[in-house]
Amino acid sequence: MPRIYQKSADFLISAVKDVMETMVFMDMSPSEPTQPEGTSLAGDVVSTLGFTGTENGIFVTSVGMDLARKITANMLGMEEEEIQDKSEISDAMGELTNMIAGNVKVLWSDEGWEMEISVPVVMAGKELEARFSRNLVEGAAVDFVNEDGERLRVEIRLGENPIENG
């Protein structure tokens, strides 16, 4: 497995735990990293964020609406019942994805890899499916689960033929 995949998985875990604990006040337990599955990812709130640099690819996050609402409420210091506007949830999840990607970017730079990240794009609804190009099927995927068993999936998908070494 190219070193960049394993490193990316480690960076995802570090970034998500840091962001979730600091800004969302939520402890999340990571699964063992795997490869992303296929060319799509389903969820109620799916956020994607592209990047270029040493490698090109995308960050993706996916959650159910209940967890998205909880995350939004915690970030804003509000009660879950007060979060009714889907645009509020979309904005919060986009910002979450942005912070995760930003954290990974700093960790990448410590390895000597460059990364410029784009603005996140968020879809919010019911059982949505984001589809990706066939050359974005490899990278790292980690499921994070909170104490209520709710899942946040975070993926970094890289283009074909990534660099083997830093």
Binding site: V19, T22, T72, E88, D91, A101, G102, N103, V106
Partner: protein, 123 residues
Amino acid sequence: MGYKVLIVDDSTTMRKIVMRSLRQAGISVAEVKEAGDGVQGMEALKQGEVDLILSDVNMPNMNGLEFVEKVRQELGDKPPIVMITTEGGEDFIAQALSKGANGYIKKPFTPEKIQEVVGPFLH
């Protein structure tokens, strides 16, 4: 006594988080102006002075570094400007400071970090 603060960020979520964090940091805020990008930020500054500016970097129309530069060109070395950003590299920090930013806070951040960085600029 309360401070007048301008928060510049294209994310409404982040603007609310910053406001909440200022309160949790024990900073007395009398008035908050909000702007979604640097252009709106300059418009907000025309409406009246502020004691502190907190600005994101990656924004449409006029990004944070362009905004800092513009503020310094038009208003001089006040008010203090603190960047709040996912950008944490030394190159970025050097660039922001050279354009006139007074400090930076990397996301994610705690209220304690807000107090540590912002506190010295408020009297």
